[in-house]
Symmetry: D2
Subunit: 144 residues, 4 copies
């Protein structure tokens, strides 16, 4: 695949993750359906965690969950089937029990979409809990 590798910046606060638009993700307009974008954002977050030494699957195995509380997406240009996109994800802010990420989706520099999410950290019981320490130590753009 001509997908380039995942590409963290020097301090691990940002990462670029390649995604090839799948046929099943496209709609009758021939472009990626808007519900495919949150899936890409999520996999980019997972890779940002991995670049910082955390495996989300292992978090869940330890009873630590991240739940999406807010999702904002601004769609700017259509992404077409088979496009090779790059998801830029950045940890904006890590609070006591929430984390905020900012995203840009690009196709060779062209801005396709921007997004922001707020995740709540919960235990297996669904109640809020403190974000794991390792995540609090991750580089943030706008630490609180």
């Amino acid at each position: 695949m001509s997908e380039t590798d995942i590409n963290p910046n020097a301090d691990g606060s940002q990462i670029r993750v390649p995604v090839r638009v799948r046929y099943a993700e496209c709609d009758p307009q021939g472009v990626a359906h808007h519900s495919a974008y949150p899936v890409w954002l999520e996999l980019a977050r997972t890779e940002l965690l991995r670049a910082n030494g955390m495996v989300y699957r292992e978090q869940e195995e330890q009873g630590i969950y991240f739940v999406v509380a807010r999702l904002n997406i601004r769609y700017r240009r259509p992404a077409r089937y088979d496009d090779l996109l790059t998801i830029h994800v950045e940890l904006l802010r890590c609070g006591a029990s929430i984390v905020e990420h900012h995203y840009q989706i690009r196709r060779e520099g062209e801005l396709i979409a921007e997004a922001q999410t707020t995740l709540a950290c919960t235990g297996a019981d669904g109640r809020p809990r403190r974000v794991p320490e390792a995540m609090e130590r991750c580089p943030q753009r706008a630490p609180t």
Copy 2:
């Protein structure tokens, strides 16, 4: 299915659409994945159109498309597999070439999520075009 019927209010400005949470829509936390919600919002919009005498499939056949430009979702409570949800959708505002909708997702009165979308009306060439007259005549909460 115990799904109740689609239920427009008197003037057609709002509608309530039942959705049963599918197994494939749920994630390892046993709840509906956040990417399922935009799909439900979309089908509720389609039913709001239908209640106002417009069939979106026919719009596209005539070269009139609606493209999601903005999506904001506030997830308040998890929706579980097999839950019978109700999507409340309302046409907020219909501009020259955009439409805004507001949504509430409820489970027997309990608020699961709130959302807002902005759609742009385009022709087959992807360029903005005037919203069809029939839509401009639909009841709006906050006409411009």
Copy 3:
């Protein structure tokens, strides 16, 4: 919605479940993507169980899982966006730890697809276990 109600036959061995094709389920050819069909089959199975007094969610809560082991689909005609389909599902056979279903997907009588699945019954540990008694008592077309 003009979706007709779920319609079991007299002895509960078959059921007909209405499904409206969603926009997000359609691909650039303007027809339902082939990966949407297994999702419809699954929700039809769930309704067949419900018509026979079993709620699959409750099965899982009791540690009884059904896992798809085989899936065969024969796609005969495209299903288009907004089509109102009917999923006919029938319990073919219930063995010690597997169940087989047969399906027809129709649009006003016209055959869209036929399918067959084999599910394995497992415990929470993923190991095969005996199918619940209530399911063994369900009417089958071809009891072993």
Copy 4:
């Protein structure tokens, strides 16, 4: 990403495509939902075409479509969230207007699933048409 590169064999008749299991593809059992597999098969087919010098998007732009007519999947072991799978795809046979592929899905050698598909080649009108010559020349395991 530790996804290894797509890896065609010497004569281009087979290819191995890495796929990371996405969170949104997993179900309440914590494993990939069975409807995710056809999506992976499809993207592997696309990469097999690409390895043979054909870009499926360009085919469609020229009015040549491939439509899934049959899908058989045998699920052998669950694929879990975040697993790095390899889709092995092989062109079995290329007839006048159909193509057959065989697939194995593996996780580090372990067989997760096997599948077979039959695709029909159609024009923009949905009618069968001759498979493009370039595809007829692709290496096949069992040429007719």
